[in-house]
Amino acid sequence: MSESTQYCTFLVDDLYFGLEVMKVQEVIREQQMTRVPLAPATVSGLINLRGQIVTAVDLRVRLGLPRRPAEKSPMNVVVRTEDGAVSLMVDEIGDVIETSAEMQERPPETLAATARSMITSVYKLPGRLLLALDIDAVLAIEPAGAGGR
């Protein structure tokens, strides 16, 4: 952990998140989305990414943050997972940032439990805090209404 890690950063509401660069496939603008009825609320829909169908997860909903204002168009951070690509819908894309272990700290206990389970650590950058996301925890969504009803 003493080595530095590169993080792809983005804003969700006013929170500044980061995801390890190696896990990010690409970042794309808002896409045409097909909603999936009966799906968990966190799944905003399906997008067609060059013939590949990608499930889009709204990070705001996932993190229990207020809904994105209608005038704000989301960005998609497409993440590679074992089960194909998944897109995280975020508000704004930031820079790729290099972090070092000295800046790292455990997430404070006061964070809401749902959010804390998805944040592996906090990096104290000058002027702001970067929250490192645990992508596996983010995608560990209860499967859609088990009866499909």
Binding site: T34, R35, L38, N48, G148, R149
Partner: protein, 759 residues
């Protein structure tokens, strides 16, 4: 190209590749004689050539490969050690095989060269105590060569080669193979195919998908431009893209016949070894499946086929005794259904006796005996898929060699499929495999509702209905909130897609439903049909099925996704899941209870389980009751003040007749006091040509269920009870109700008279 020609082509390609590998392996083996893996791979290659050439009728080739195989088998089993002599003999064999393959390619036969010497050499090598003790010049024991040769085979190994290459192919040997084949073969088909990594094909497929989308965007501009050069170019682009898309998609699809083609041989060999007579039949060979799925089901299918021949089918004597033709029948069927591929392997053999399975399972301690007796026959049958369960009374060399049915099931489930077994003792066994058609192309009907498009696999589609506003309000009737439509005299349960998908719950009560045109897609799920109302019915299209992401796997309402022509994603409806989600289709279909019940009935044992359409209603005091839907002619609602009286009976005027009413609350014991209401729910029943109205408190549901009557009551108006939808429900004996009501209806036998007199 005929089928057999295709097989020959494939054989040539595979064998040629194998032989090149063999040359290298044999040489490598000489360096490392102890390498068992290398030996096995050589053995397998020769074995495959032998097997296929035998199947294709290349006798010479088969004989030569056979002797090689035998020797290799000894080497593999450690009965022999590799000597240079053996190695060179094997290499000569490879050359000989190659030469014969050449003949096959050019003339369609394996040539007429004399290989007896080579065969004799091998026999000698194999028979000799060890290679060292049998010097090359030693004459072989007469007995082994007797059948093989008149030439002294003493000449060492290279000799047959020389002979062979020198021997011209006499014209008369070119007996089979049409001229057409020969012409084509002249340019060397072996070089006409290349092997391509499936990953590359996937990538190509995605790129083509992208191209289609780009094409669509370009085409959108053609509407607004006058530039004729651009129009012509985009038209060309359109055509080329379509063709390219079709071509690339085809590369991944293979007919299931490719896997099946080896079964006739498997079955033939097996039946000979077991002294059985088996005829193999295939239906739906052309059913196309994705290459990866084909690969994945190869082994499970082979295992099932072997099992059927070994355990399923009886010996000819036994069959004749049982009144069946001596020749057993093994049927392989494949077809698309409900967005899935169904593969059935059925035999007309002895079937599986659930009692024997119970005994076996208890004996093996898989389950407590008590639990086994409680399980339905159907559930017991599925025990054959349990790990560590062999149904074979005896382990033959054919089955029971480690790979059990549990492995079959595991492998099928790995690709998202299911396997189910149905069996009737004495009549046969059917194994039904359902596998999803990931990536398969299926025709689908595209509908839209609430602004989104959905695809419905065409296989589930029965018909499309358009019910005009006025007609709709009449012909779509409500049974306690559940809409039904009269379709040619049968009640078709309806559900609106908006409702299933949670967009709009009270569609049928809305004004829209009363005045608008209602578009209904009649679907078939399991053995039940239902009507799905949608906002718009668009068009049929060929769609490429793509799986749902992991996050959405739990949604049984959808079978997958697809990309529409404009590049947007559309969901594919899973008709079965949809019906179940809307409670229109029984959820317990997996075990195929209908069949189990049929079987139960057929054998005359507790025939209390039947699949039927039931009307579920409630009497005062929340008493749940059911009657078969087939007995009911209508469901009506009457204002309480329309009830009149004749004598002791309540009646209403109904369709210009006087319909007596029976208040079930009063007939059925143990009902509470009926609440006073303005409207009453009446189930209209026809008895001997006369309407009778059964007044109930509430009509709850109509469903198709296979019910098991658990408690039969003699006498009374309740014929028994069953658990329906998880609740205890009494079954009403309507005849007894009418008898008890004393409304004085004649028996059904007097019906004609009754109608004549008009009461």
């Amino acid at each position: 190209m005929s089928e057999i020609e295709e097989i020959v082509q494939e054989f040539l390609v595979e064998s040629t590749e194998g032989l090149d590998q063999l040359d290298r392996s044999l040489v490598a083996l000489e360096q490392a004689p102890g390498d068992g893996e290398l030996l096995s791979s050589i053995f397998r290659c020769i074995h495959t050539i032998k097997g296929t050439s035998g199947f294709l009728g290349f006798g010479q080739l088969e004989r030569v490969a056979h002797v090689g195989e035998s020797l290799l088998s000894d080497l593999r089993d450690g009965k022999k050690t590799l000597t240079p002599e053996i190695t060179s003999a094997l290499l000569t064999l490879v050359d000989a095989v190659r030469l014969m393959l050449g003949h096959v390619q050019s003339s369609g036969t394996d040539g007429s060269d004399d290989w007896t010497a080579l065969i004799a050499t091998f026999n000698r090598l194999q028979q000799g105590e060890s290679a060292a003790e049998a010097p090359p010049s030693a004459p072989p024991p007469a007995s082994e060569v007797a059948s093989a040769s008149i030439d002294p085979p003493a000449a060492p190994v290279p000799a047959p080669m020389g002979e062979a290459s020198a021997a011209p192919v006499p014209a008369e040997t070119v007996e089979s193979g049409s001229p057409e084949i020969r012409d084509r073969r002249a340019d060397g088909v072996v070089d006409n195919t290349i092997r391509v990594d499936v990953g590359l094909l996937d990538k190509l497929m995605n790129l083509v998908g992208e191209l289609v989308l780009a094409r669509n965007q370009v085409l959108q501009h053609t509407a607004t431009t006058e530039d004729s050069a651009f129009l012509a170019t985009s038209q060309r682009l359109n055509l080329i893209t379509t063709e390219l898309q079709e071509g690339v998609m085809k590369t991944r699809m293979q007919p299931i016949g490719n896997v099946w083609s080896k079964f006739p041989r498997v079955v033939r060999d097996l039946s000979q070894a077991l002294q059985k007579q088996v005829r193999i039949e295939m239906e739906g060979k052309e059913t196309e499946l994705d290459k990866t799925i084909i690969e994945a089901i190869k082994d499970p299918l082979t295992h099932i086929v072997r099992n059927s021949v070994d355990h399923g089918l009886e010996s000819p004597d036994e069959r004749v005794k049982a009144g069946k033709p001596a020749e057993g029948r093994l049927l392989l069927r494949a077809y698309h259904e409900g967005g899935q591929v169904n593969i059935e392997i059925s035999d007309d053999g002895r079937g599986i006796d659930p009692e024997r399975l119970r005994a076996k399972a208890a004996e093996k301690g898989l389950m407590p005996a008590e639990q086994l007796t409680r399980m339905s026959d159907r559930e017991v049958l599925n025990l054959i898929f349990a790990a560590g369960f062999s149904t074979a009374e005896k382990v033959t060399n054919v089955s029971g060699r480690g790979v059990g049915m549990d492995v079959v099931r595991t492998n099928i489930e790995k690709i998202g499929g299911t396997v189910d077994v149905q069996s009737v003792v004495g009549r046969g066994t059917t194994l039904k495999i359902k596998i999803p058609l990931t990536l398969a192309i299926i025709p689908a009907l595209v509908v839209s509702t609430a602004g989104d498009r959905y695809a419905i696999p065409q296989v589930s589609l029965l018909e499309l209905l358009r019910v005009e506003g006025d007609e709709a309000s009449q012909s779509i009737e409500m049974i306690h909130g559940a809409p039904v439509y009269r379709l040619r005299g049968n009640l078709l349960p309806l559900v609106h897609l908006n409702q299933v998908l949670g967009f709009q719950l009270g569609f049928w009560a809305s004004e829209e439903a009363k005045h608008e045109v209602v578009k209904i897609v009649v679907l078939q799920a399991d053995e039940q049909s239902f009507g799905l109302a949608v906002d718009e019915i668009n068009d049929t299209e060929e769609i490429v099925v793509k799986p749902l992401g992991k996050l959405l796997k739990g949604l049984t309402t959808f079978a997958g996704t697809t990309i529409m022509g404009d590049g947007r994603v559309a969901l594919i409806l899973d008709v079965l899941g949809l019906g179940q989600g809307a409670d229109l289709v029984s959820k317990n279909r997996e075990r195929g209870r209908a069949d189990a019940d049929e079987e139960a009935l057929g054998r005359g044992s507790n025939a209390s389980a039947q699949r039927q359409n039931l009307l579920i209603f409630e009497l005062a005091g929340h008493r749940r009751m059911a009657i078969p839907l087939s007995m009911i002619s209508r469901l009506e609602e009457f204002p309480v003040d329309t009830v009149e009286r004749t004598g002791r009976h309540e009646v209403v005027q109904y369709r210009e007749e006087i319909m007596p009413l029976i208040r079930l609350d009063k007939i059925v014991d143990g009902c509470g006091q009926a609440a006073a209401k303005d409207q009453m729910q009446v189930v209209v029943y026809t008895h001997g040509g006369q309407y009778v109205g059964l007044v109930v408190e509430n009509i709850l549901d109509i469903l198709e269920e296979s019910i098991t009557v658990q408690r039969r009551t003699a006498g009374g108006v309740v014929s028994g009870s069953a658990v329906i939808q998880g609740k205890v429900t009494d079954l009403l004996d309507v005849a007894a109700v009418i008898a008890r009501s004393e409304i004085g209806l004649p028996d059904a036998a007097d019906a004609a008279e009754l109608v004549g007199t008009g009461v």
